[in-house]
Structures are given as structure tokens and as C-alpha cells.
Symmetry: D2
Subunit: 351 residues, 4 copies
């Protein structure tokens, strides 16, 4: 059986997913693509042999027979698009983050649950071999009990100013840190309950004009007493720099890839190797694996590896850390969850 997939969003990341779906995932057919930018939709259709394209994803959902949709629209639209896809009864894979607010997360989760469709969120790092090995080693007890989490998340340059606006990207901490907040829960097997952030705009002053910063550090405190810290930056001009570390009672794990090509150059100037240029290169296989897992989970009707609730939990950490930065004080995760439906009455209980 071939799963028919509609792609919603044909921008930069949309094309990454189109390429992955077209060439690297067995058992799927990219049946349609939608993007308000007609040229982008048409171009993606031509390049990836997609039989139909739309400028309105709602028309696509109405007119094309689909099993699932892959959502790669701007973050601010995620909640709304996901609700529409759920209403159309299609399974949903959405690029991270689930939404730009906890209310958005809640709406998306509720819609998928009400429609009885799968909702998987694109935390692709969980599908990277290095992170998988780390998780397996931890579960196998190789480092004892995890007591400290460390994350480094640095981009090799600033995004467009349009993207950097907090209403679009969610701000540096949420945009860059969301993967680390997810790993902070997934690898530690524990919940963060308090965060504190410091940040500044030091390298790209133009970011300040759109309300963003370029460097931040975030402290984590877990409900079981574990601690952690994360740094995020836009100015790793030497290359895309993603490193993660878990310190346990019996050892530690370090995940990181500093070298792209396995060649060393040795001259009077020293020994040099190249670096990893961007996230697509670093996580190419993980992007394919997460979609393969989504397909498998739809076919076998099982729980997605990264659920909406998991994405919501990571988002809560980011929202709290951003509030900490704004207010200059430690913020409890429970504060930002205060007005949340799930806090008082989890849907699983009301189901």
C-alpha cells in the first residue's frame, strides 16, 4: 500500500521535506503540494514530480485524496493548518515547533485527538544515529543516573530579519532552543520544572531592531533535582555547531559532529579540518528517518515517536525561558502552563 501525502508549504524547509519524500522514503507518494506562493508550489511540483499543486492548502485538502499531510508552513500558522488537516481527517506530520504558543499547541493537539488522526512533530534529532545511541546507552545504564544535561545549539549565521521577529520565529530561545528542550526531556527521562535565561544582542545589532537577540544561555532545573544548561547562538561562523552532553552518576555521553569531510590538512599553519555547514547536512538522514517512522506509525496504527504532547512540553520550556529573559527572574514551568487546559485536566483523563 502506498501512502498518499500532501505537502503544505514549499519554502526552504518545505523543499527539504519534498526531496526527502520524493527520494528517500519508500511506500509514499507525494500526491499534491500547496503554497500561497504559486511559483513555489508549481516549482516544487515540477522538481519532485508531484502531480498536483495548489496555492490554497484548504482546496488541496478538499480536492485530493490524501492519507496524510506534512505541514511545513511558518510557525505562526501551524495551529490553524493542523486544525484544518485534522478536520479533513488526514494524519499530520508537522515540522517543529508544534505552534508558537502553548494555546496553539493545545488547539492542535485537541483537534488531532478529536479527529482521531496521528500527530507527529519534527524533532528529527531523535532519529539521528548519534542521539539514538545516546538514548540507548542511557537506557542500558551505561552512565548510571543522568544528573546533568548540556546543550549547545549554534547557527552559522543570522536568519532573515523577517524570520527573526518574535511573532514569526518565537525569538532566538524558542527557535534555536526547541530541539535542545526536547532532548533535555528525552535524554534525561525527567521533567524540567524551572528555567533561567540570560541573553544579549552583540554580533548582529540589526536583530535588536526586530526584537531579537543573538546569544543566550539557559539554566535548567529538573523536578528530580537534576540540572542543566543550554546555550544558543546565531554567530557560530565556523559552522553549524550542535553538541549535547549527559552527565550521569557513572559516566557521561557526548554527542557532536565537528567535521564534515574525513580529511585532515597538515601544513605549517597546523592541522585543520572542515566543519558542518548547516542543519540539512548534519541531519539529512534524520529527516528521512522521522518521515519513515511517521509512515510506519500510520500504517501500524501506533503512537507517534514524537507526540503533540511531547512537543508541547518542549515548547513550555522555551516559553518559560523566554519569559525569564524578559522578566529577569527564574520562571517555573508551571507558571506558563497556568492557563492551560491540560494542566488541570489532561485530555487522557477526559477521554
Amino acid at each position: 500500500m502506498t501512502m498518499r501525502i500532501g505537502l503544505i508549504g514549499a519554502g526552504r524547509m518545505g523543499k527539504v521535506f519534498a526531496h526527502t519524500l520524493a527520494f528517500s522514503v519508500a511506500g509514499v507518494q507525494l500526491a499534491a503540494v500547496a503554497d500561497p506562493d504559486e511559483a513555489a508550489a508549481r516549482d516544487a511540483a515540477a522538481r519532485y514530480h508531484i502531480p498536483a499543486w495548489f496555492s490554497d492548502y484548504r482546496r488541496m485538502l478538499a480536492e485530493v485524496e490524501l492519507d496524510a499531510a506534512v505541514v511545513v508552513t511558518p510557525t505562526g500558522t501551524h495551529a490553524q493548518v493542523i486544525q484544518a488537516v485534522a478536520a479533513a481527517g488526514r494524519h499530520i506530520f508537522t515540522e517543529k515547533p508544534l505552534a508558537d504558543s502553548l494555546a496553539g499547541c493545545d488547539a492542535a493537539i485537541a483537534a488531532a485527538e478529536a479527529a482521531g488522526v496521528k500527530l507527529q512533530v519534527g524533532f528529527m534529532r531523535r532519529f539521528d544515529p548519534a542521539y539514538l545511541m545516546a538514548r540507548q546507552k542511557i537506557e542500558a545504564g551505561a552512565i548510571g543516573t543522568p544528573v546533568m544535561f548540556k546543550g549547545v545549539g549554534r547557527d552559522p549565521g543570522r536568519p532573515s530579519l523577517e524570520f527573526a521577529r518574535r511573532e514569526n520565529s518565537g525569538g532566538l530561545i524558542l527557535d534555536m532552543g526547541i530541539h535542545d528542550f526536547d532532548l533535555a526531556r528525552w535524554l534525561m527521562g525527567a521533567e524540567v520544572d524551572r528555567v533561567y535565561a540570560e541573553g544579549s544582542c552583540l554580533v548582529f545589532p540589526e536583530l535588536q531592531e526586530v526584537g531579537d537577540i543573538d546569544n543566550a544561555v539557559i539554566n535548567l532545573h529538573y523536578s528530580n533535582g537534576a540540572v542543566g544548561n543550554i546555550d544558543v547562538s546565531r554567530n557560530a561562523l565556523y559552522g553549524y555547531d550542535i553538541r549535547t552532553e549527559v552527565l550521569g552518576s557513572e559516566g557521561a555521553l557526548r554527542i557532536g559532529k565537528d567535521q564534515l569531510t574525513d580529511t585532515l590538512v597538515l601544513t605549517r599553519a597546523g592541522i585543520t579540518h572542515d566543519t558542518v555547514p548547516n542543519f540539512m547536512t548534519r541531519f539529512a538522514s534524520a529527516y528521512a528517518e522521522e518521515i519513515r517512522d511517521f509512515v510506519r506509525c500510520v500504517l501500524e496504527d501506533c503512537e507517534p515517536a514524537v507526540t503533540g504532547r511531547e512537543a508541547r512540553a518542549a515548547t513550555a520550556i522555551g516559553v518559560a525561558a523566554t519569559r525569564s529573559l524578559d522578566e529577569g527572574r527564574p520562571v517555573l514551568i508551571s507558571e506558563v502552563l497556568g492557563g492551560s487546559l491540560w494542566k488541570k485536566q489532561p485530555p487522557s483523563a477526559s477521554a
Copy 2:
């Protein structure tokens, strides 16, 4: 335009190529597969959606409309199969080595030239990013003039005894070393003119019963005075170990990949990482790239990146090194080329 390809050989490496052609190369259609083992041919056809399968590749060549054939048969049959494909007027990509003898190489080259078809040989390392970078750095003068070549080629275990027989594999030096002999020419930009080999059977005594050894070292002397050495082994039980080094008058290059997964495990026992298990893992992208390049070269009617004559030159080094091992003396490359057609009158001159 889609290139229609017939696959000849559906064994272990045949499946690697089938997988690559089916999933990783744009613009090709795997139109047919042939293998004397009917079950293997049928199984490959099913698994990779190949519309036709044959037990006799000659029937495939006669009955299916093809643009090219990919030859992945046992080395001993290469020359004969290539001649048949050439006679059928199809372009040829053949897995290394070109043939098990210089006479076989000559016959294959002559057949392709007579038929006016492309003949490309599977030295996939030339398409690996690390080796490409090395070559580019050398060409850009980063290490001055190359004066020494070093190659390490070690398998993590012994092959089947059937494969190990010299009439099948060509013996350890030719089987393992052929890639290094090719790199020894390609990276140094110079011709080897003398070799000397030592070898022994020390770890897998059963190899001795089929006339093979498990460890060898080969010294190289180039016509421009450069020197080199290569080691090949079957007992790198810690993992597939391929390293290459070029020392120049102004610096050096080292190519090597020791770590598969970018995770370090730190415990009281030390800091540990995993290793690369096998050549398919190590060179997965290179196998796809070499086929992509072959497709491009057919479409654009240009010289293949790895010609039959290049493969023949690497084979000559292997044949000479094997003779050196047998006779316990340095062997000139000119000795093994003695009876060769090309030696006296290169085809380009007679054309």
C-alpha cells in the same frame, strides 16, 4: 530522458547497486536484472521493482531495450560479460576490478572501444567527499609536490574461502589493494614503476589452504622518484579501516574515518567510540555518486571519470605486487605489461 539500465549480477554487491539505482539515482530506470541464480534474480526484481529478470544475461541483452548495463558478476567473468555487453552496443559500468588479468583488461577495453560504448570502472573512492577534497587540495597546491603515498586497507574479517581462491578474488593483494593502487596513481599524479611485497597467513590459517594470505605490505616506487607503502589485512576485527595519506613537499593530507556514530561514551574504562563496520556503510554515498557520474557521462557523451585504461593501470600494480610476493623480489610494472598489446602500441595511437 530516462536511462534504461540492466543489472548483471544480483549477489551481495549486485544488491548494493540495485538499491542505489532504485533509490538514489535520478534519471535511471532499472529495466532488467540477470543472474544465473534464478532465485537471486527474481528476488532482486521483486525487492527493487525491476520489471524483468533473467537467468541468462545474454538473453537479457537480446530481449530488453537497454541504454547501459551495470556489471557486478564474479571478477573472473568480467572480461567476457563486458565483451558481450559491448557487442550488444550498450554502455558499461563495471564493478572493480575490470578483470582478473591484464589480458582480460585489454580484451574488455578493446571491446568497448571497438563498439564505441562507454566503459566506467567502479573505483568508488574517487567519488567519496574526503578523497575528492584530498585531490582538490593537492591540485590546488596545498601540500606542494606529493612525494609519498600511504594506504591502509583492512577488512574486519575474512571472506568466504570460495571467494578467497586466487582464481576468484585475485588474492589478497589484488582484491583488497586495487582501490589503493588506483588512489596511489590518482592522488599522486604519477605512475608506479616498481613494487615489492611481503605477506603472510597468520590469523586465518584456513586461507592458506586455498592459496591466500591475510596480511601484506607493499612498497611502491614511482617513475618520478616518489615512494609509497600500502598495507592490506583481513583481520581489522575492530572495524573496516581505510586510511590514506599523501605527504608533500609543503604539507600532508590524511583521509580516514574511524568513527561511525558521533557519540562518545565516557566511563571509568576510558573514552570510547564505535567504528565503521563495512565498506557499504563507509562508501554509501560514493556508490551513488559514481553511478550518477556514469549516467551524466553517458548523457553528455564525455569520458568516464574512471576509464578502463585507468583500471588496467591499477590492476598492473596489483599483478606486479602479487608476482613480487610469489617470487620474493622487486617487480617492475613494465615486466607485467610485457606481453600487453597496449605496451607497444597504445590504442590511441592506432585509432
Copy 3:
């Protein structure tokens, strides 16, 4: 001219200094040693050929002709000992930290200044080649403007419970972090103005009984907007783990030594190397260099490389971070400096 030095303190670190003074520093003579533990004093005298030993350092100061004293007593006694040495008119090299309180720091600094003697504090990392290179690279502009500081400071096991008491060690953050607080100023060329700490006792519950913790993370904010984070831990059971990183507007520096012996072991279990066991091994040459520098600075009558005021500034960060941990809020450095003499009227002004 040979400088005559008296060693005050013959415990674990005292012996490290005795060894260094006896074997690795030219131009000095270890003229006497004092320790309230007579056996320790006598033993050090015998082992390092020191002509005189005392159980009371005040008698040593009174009876032996000395140029300088090296103070390696428990932290809680530093201020008092330093005042006595200064009163005796001898130059002072003191192991870090300068004192266990800012008031102690102030008293020690004032005493040395009043007596006109040199006061150098043992931040040996500044004399390690890796840290020196980092500082030079930063000064040379290799990474542009520093915008983020990262420190990892982890011991391979817990100290004695006696030592761990806050009145002795100052607590985990001050004891382990003091070197990082010094580097955080020295490498960044900027002043920390706010800190926030999280910490827990998770691996060695017995530490809790003496009021200490085993893991902590500390966020730094600098007055120029730069940020930083530091982690300290007692449970790096895989080895002494000291890593430092400076991210700048044009690049980054990483300092760290994970491997003690330059040997890799490659087996089916992976590729493994050993780790650095302890600080004496890691910083052996730095301990010698800092003393050599002290000797040079006395002989040439110049400013010590690490002054009392520098040590006081690092201590202030540690005191503030400890207060942050205690009070669960960000703490300004200016808060802990509130009652300090220097804050209002720096001694240089009153001199």
C-alpha cells in the same frame, strides 16, 4: 641570587608545591616548612631536603631568613596566615582561593599592600599552554569580540566530607568554580555583573549531610552584555574534566584535554583512550610555571600575573553564585561587594 622560600602547609597540595619548588623551579631554595601536623612537616622536610621544619608557621617566620612564603593552608586560614606573612615582610604566593570570604580577601590584600610585599594567587590555569594560547589568540583578534564564555569543571570523585563543609571548602560552587570564575574574566576581558545558579546533591547523598551539593550550573551575565555558563560536578567518574570555550563574533576557541596517554586501543568493543586522572597531572607544568613567574616577579619587582584584586573579583562571582543557589534568584555582583571597603574607595586611590 637564590630566593629563600618558606612553605606554610604540608598537606596534599602542600606536597605538590614542595615537589615543584624542589625539582622544577630554578633560583629558589626551599628553606623551611611549617605545618601544625608535626609529622607532615617533618616528612616534607625529609622528602624534599628542606633544612628546617616547624609546627608553628609564626615561629618559622620569626626564626628563618626568608624572601617569600608559599601559603597552602586550609582556605579558612588563608587571610590570617597571609596577614602574618605580610607583617613579617615576606612576599606571598598563596594557593587559591585567596580567602573564604570577601572580607578575608580585603584583609589579605590590605595587609600585603600595607607591607609593600608581592601577593600572587594560584590560578595556575593561566600558566597552562592551552589557556595561554587561547588568551593570545583572543588578544590577536582570532575570534573577533568574545560574546560567550563556557566552563566545565568536574572532579572525578567527591572530596572528604570534612573538606566539603562550606566553612572549609566554601561549598562546591566556590571550590570547583573559582578557576572558571577567574577564566571567565581573564579570557573574556570583561566583568561579570550578574549570576544565577542551580544545584543539587544527587550522586553523593552524604554531601548533603555536611551542607554541600555535587552538581551545579551557573549562568553568567557580563556588564558588556556577554553571557556565559559554567557547570561544576564531583561525579565525572571517567576522569578529571576541565573544558573551556569562548565564542566570539568571528570564531571560537575550545580548550580541553581528554586523553592522557597518546595511545588508542582498537578492539571489537570500539576505539578507546584513557582520560586525565586529576588536576595535578593535568596542570603539572602550570604549577611550576606559576611559581617561576612569582620568582621572576619578585626578582624584577613587577606586578604579579594574578593579583589579590583579581582573586577577589573571582571570589566575588563565587560568593554571588552561592548566594544565588541559596536564595533562588539572580544575584548582582554589586550586592556581594556592598559591604566591601574597595567598592567605595579602591586602595589604589587611597594609596
Copy 4:
């Protein structure tokens, strides 16, 4: 008891030994120094507080009460100096190589044995922690049975032309390779019985004028069937490059130090670290350890760690490899030992 040592030779290496004896070895007194270059002898005496200096080492041996002499004269004079020291009844530590010929080795060994004095040769790598760990791992069976030896020995530049003359240095292969020939025996626990060498003069043409080359590769065959290869070069312009590898039936060991300072520089140009500049830096602690071991062996009257016979065996490999280069054929070690006294009647038998 303090061992009184006379230093014979105050050139470049002589000063390395003087420094080591003066500052890094307990229980010794550098009682005198001799060098035909009076200025050098006087300068060393002044710099290292040596109470007496001589231009004639024979006078030193006659006039100064010594327990032992450290011989650091030009290689060509070793045999004669060692015989004189032995005749004077002093223990002998000689810098490598033992002599420039096998006859010279025999004479030196015979003289020491006749006089009943210790004779230790300066293969300092055996005292380097990385090599010691490798040897221990091999003895503990960590890699099974050793089957292949690999050595890289490269200098960062050419020596003086005067030194390079074969009558002074022994030629590139003997001069650079002698340490590798020693390791090839020590780590493998087996004897080399055949060698084959290729070499050229490609980077420093002026070396050709004094009869030397700048790059060579040497194949090794052991009497137990193991194999090996070594490369030596003068043009590792990127730094002093010494790497050793032992491949066994169950794993492998790699010894090598590529980085001097534990600092990485990360910029747009890649990730870079420095290299090891020279042998004194690389093996500083090993030079001290070998002398400490010599002192211990004299005091405890035990067999030196590196005997004259061991040095002679390494020299034999170098002599054979040089002959192989000269004659263009594999050379048996037994050929070069043909005229040797020890070959037919080992001294241990005649004793």
C-alpha cells in the same frame, strides 16, 4: 648516595641531556663535562652548574671521580668513546645509535662486557608513556597476536648537510629509522629477518650532494611471518610526526601525538590545532625517564632496559635496509650479521 656523572659531548643533544641531568633526575650529580669544542664545554658547565669541564674526555675520565658517563658525541665516535669509558671502569649511558656500524656495536658491547660495566642505549621511546602503555596492552593480550608493525618517523626539516653525510648520520634510513627498528622488535616481540627499502631525494636536492635522501619506505618481514612497513622523511613541514601502529589478531594499537597544545581554533577557515614541533618536546619526559632508569639500574645492579645487544639488533635492521636501498633488492638480516662475532658465537655462550 649520589651518582657522579660525566657528560661527554655538549652539542645540541648534549645540552638536552645536561638539562635533564641537572633538573629532572634525582640522585645524580653532573660532576664534569667534556667537549673538544672548549666553548661548548665551558658554556654547559656554567649553565648547568657543572664543577669541571674538559676539552678532552680522556682527561676527564682520568682526573674526575665518576660513577658513570653519558655519551652524546657524534655517532661515528661512539664505539671509541664507549671503549675508553669502559676501560676507565665507568658505567655507560650512550645516546642512540650505539655505533655507526655493526663492528662498532660489537666493539662497544665487548668492551663493556669485558669491563663489567653497564651499557644502556638511548632508545627513549621505550620510556614514553604512550609506548609503555602499548607494550603493556600487547603483553596483556589486548590485541591478540601482533601480525603487523607500522612506523612513521618524520622530521619537520632537513638536518645540516654536514650531519647528513652518511659517515656522520649513517644516512636517512639509519638516522631516522633506528627508533622504529627498535620499536619494531620491542613491540612485536619478534625478530625482523628481511627488509626491502625504496628511497629518493625529492624535496631537498642539496642532500643528494652529500649522498643522502629525504624520503624512504622500508618493508619488514619477521621470522615468525609477521610483516611491517616504515616510512621516514625529512619534510614533515607541518611538525614532528611520529606514529606507530601494531595490528594484532584481535585488535590494534595506535600511538601518535599530533597536537601540542590542547586548544582548538574554530573559524570560517575550519577547525585547527597546532602540532608537535620537535623530538625534544615530544619526548621530554622520556629523556628524563630513561636516565632515571639507568641510575636505578646502576644502583640496583640490574640489566639495563635497553642493552647494547638490543641496540645492535636495531642497527642491523638499519644497515640491512640501507644496503637494500643501495642494491635494489631485499636483504636478509643474516647477510649483514655475516661477519659478526656474535653471529657464530654469542658472548653469553663464551662467558
